[in-house]
């Protein structure tokens, strides 16, 4: 039956290209047993990498969150010229290779960059230090939250807020009491994706990091270091932490889609809000 053939093909393809790599991570991580696994993830350098990763995400995600909400408010609730140009600009970081994303901050904040002289004189370290890593991560994860919220706010329209205004609410009250509850699942969704990418970013951070062990290595970079020290089980052990984070992200994503079906790609409508009527 062609139906079975198609299903089998699909499952085989997914199994080979998606499932096997995931399995490989966990199998290699546990190749030397749970004891070695535990040692690998609690070792001081690994732990420093975990802390740095968490710190970077804790800064990058809220920054992009505030931006995402502001941009979605401006784009979703108002009409103005250049709106679609703005949306395209917000999507720009998606089209930029992570390596280029890292490089641009070296060009600006490196010792020979635009602000190099000024930063050196003031003894402020940006690149090859934590601020540089944060900047590169913010750049790379820039559009995530905005992209979730913009179509959502556009689809939801202004009706609720206008009613609230007519009842005498101030702008802030409008936002906190009316808009936020409406978009909370979309917000969480965007935060989840933004967070996953922040913690997992490799290319951009690799260029600006300086690879100082224990200080400027995030978890993905630490995985690379362990890999380069013949410590494959440890490398996969730390990688498995990131893989677990990915699985948690996927689970969270599905829960949120269940809560607010509008988030599901299947239910997403074209940006101008039109909808094909069934015949």
């Amino acid at each position: 039956m062609s139906r079975l053939l198609l299903i089998a093909t699909a499952l085989l393809f997914l199994g080979v290209f998606l499932l096997l790599p995931l399995l490989a991570v966990f199998v290699q991580a546990l190749a030397n047993g749970f004891g070695a696994y535990y040692v690998a993830v609690s070792e001081p350098m690994a732990w420093a990498a975990v802390k740095l990763t968490l710190l970077v995400a804790a800064i990058a995600v809220p920054l992009n969150l505030v931006f995402g909400v502001a941009a979605a408010w401006a784009i979703g609730k108002f009409e103005f010229r250049g709106k679609s140009a703005l949306i395209t600009l917000i999507d720009l970081p998606f089209a930029v290779s992570p390596v280029i994303a890292g490089m641009i901050f070296i060009l600006i904040f490196g010792a020979h960059g635009w602000f190099g002289g000024f930063l050196r004189a003031e003894h402020v370290r940006v690149v090859f230090a934590v601020p540089g890593i944060v900047l590169a991560t913010v750049f790379v994860t820039f559009p995530f939250i905005a992209r979730e919220l913009i179509p959502l706010m556009q689809a939801q329209g202004n009706a609720d807020e206008e009613i609230a205004r007519s009842l005498g609410a101030t702008g802030w009250q409008c936002f906190w009491r009316v808009t936020l509850p409406n978009i909370r699942w979309g917000l969480l969704y965007g935060v989840l994706l933004c967070n996953a990418r922040s913690m997992g970013e490799f290319g951009a951070v690799s260029v600006v990091s300086g690879h100082v062990r224990g200080l400027t290595n995030t978890m993905p970079l630490h995985v690379e270091i362990l890999y380069n020290e013949y410590n494959y089980t440890a490398a996969f052990a730390v990688a498995s932490l990131l893989a677990l984070l990915a699985l948690l992200t996927l689970a969270g994503k599905n829960v949120l889609e269940w809560r607010q079906p509008e988030l599901r790609p299947a239910a997403r409508r074209p940006r101008d809000g039109t909808r094909r009527e069934p015949a």
Partner: protein, 337 residues
């Protein structure tokens, strides 16, 4: 309603600042920016030096390490990675700190003994156990059907030593000249399936991923690989001609003066020449300069009939770099076609 957000923001800022700001005065921190294969060596050396410094001055010292391809590390330092000391693979990379970064004086190499190279190494071949492809010398590497692993000379210091050693051997063959040497090296590099950016990456490719019949490696890397991953898996083959690799060290004047760590940094490097420093180097398969330590560890190293220096065979690093590794040099040419 706004309070929780401000508090959160302030907390995050404090956390971030706290993580970047320096530690209290009684602890001194040094940043050692090094090349790829020295990871294990400096782990042990840093502990020994910390004890030495503590017993001498009572201060605690923390040495942070960064490792990567030598050229790449030099670039990072020029771009703003505030290394207190650099311990790189070749003098040319440290020269760049003077020439391009203005971070150290041009005569840095004369400040420490032996051209600022506390130990030496050389280039050997790491092969599979039993040497099934019968690789005994450079000529065998260019045979068809032999796969050679070496990193890229554009980013890895070790790779540049590899390249020059091969070239040096070719020049010593009967009837050789620059053209035949280039032809030989071209054949050799066309037997290379993977070019990693650093020495360690190449070793990983050879030993872990099982690619290649021979790895062109730092001697110390080869010994380390055998020790870590199984003496029953690999053999070390010493070629007939090789190059004396002198990985140099230097303080980075601009940064140690800014950080106020000059005294510690200079002592850190001087200690490499001490009996204990030399002992640790020898344990990690570097050829020590100290005669006493060297004689004790002599059996560990293989005899290489002809060992050449870059100065003797190539007229120095600047010339070698310009001829071979700069844009449009021989390396670009052998890959261009």
């Amino acid at each position: 309603m706004r309070r929780p957000r401000t508090i959160l923001a302030a907390a995050l800022l404090a956390l971030g600042v706290g993580l970047i700001s320096p530690l209290p005065a009684a602890t001194v921190k040094l940043l050692n920016v090094s090349y790829d294969p020295t990871r294990e060596f400096y782990e042990e050396y840093n502990k020994a030096f910390a004890e030495h410094w503590h017993s001498k001055t009572g201060d605690t010292i923390i040495v942070n390490q960064s490792h990567g391809g030598s050229g790449k590390q030099a670039r990072s330092v020029i771009d703003g990675l505030e290394a207190d000391v650099v311990t790189l693979a070749l003098a040319y990379d440290i020269d760049a700190l003077a020439a391009q970064g203005g971070l150290i004086p041009a005569d840095w190499q004369q400040r420490l003994p032996n051209n600022s190279a506390p130990y030496t190494s050389t280039i050997v071949f790491l092969v599979r156990k039993g040497n099934p492809k019968k690789i005994h010398d450079w000529g065998d590497l260019a045979r068809p059907g032999v796969e050679v692993i070496t990193p890229s000379p554009k980013t890895s210091g070790g790779a540049r030593w590899n390249y020059l050693a091969a070239w040096a051997w070719a020049l010593r063959q009967p009837g050789a000249d620059a053209a035949t040497a280039e032809a030989f090296v071209k054949k050799l590099y066309h037997n290379v399936p993977v070019l990693d950016s650093g020495a360690r990456g190449a070793t990983v490719t050879f030993v872990q991923r099982g690619i290649g019949d021979a790895l062109l490696a730092w001697e110390n890397e080869a010994f380390l690989a055998v020790k870590e991953l199984g003496p029953d898996k690999f053999d070390i083959v010493a070629p007939s001609v090789s190059i004396v690799a002198e990985p140099p060290v230097s303080v980075v004047d601009q940064y140690v003066d800014e950080h106020g760590t000059r005294a510690v940094a200079e002592e850190y490097l001087k200690y490499l020449y001490s009996a204990q420093g030399q002992e640790i180097a020898a344990k990690h398969f570097y050829r020590p300069r100290d005669a006493a330590v060297a004689s004790r560890y002599a059996k560990q190293f293989q005899e290489i009939p002809l060992l050449l220096t870059v100065d003797a065979a190539f007229g120095g690093w600047s010339k070698a770099q310009a001829t071979h590794f700069a844009d449009h040099g021989t390396f670009d040419r052998i890959y261009g076609k």
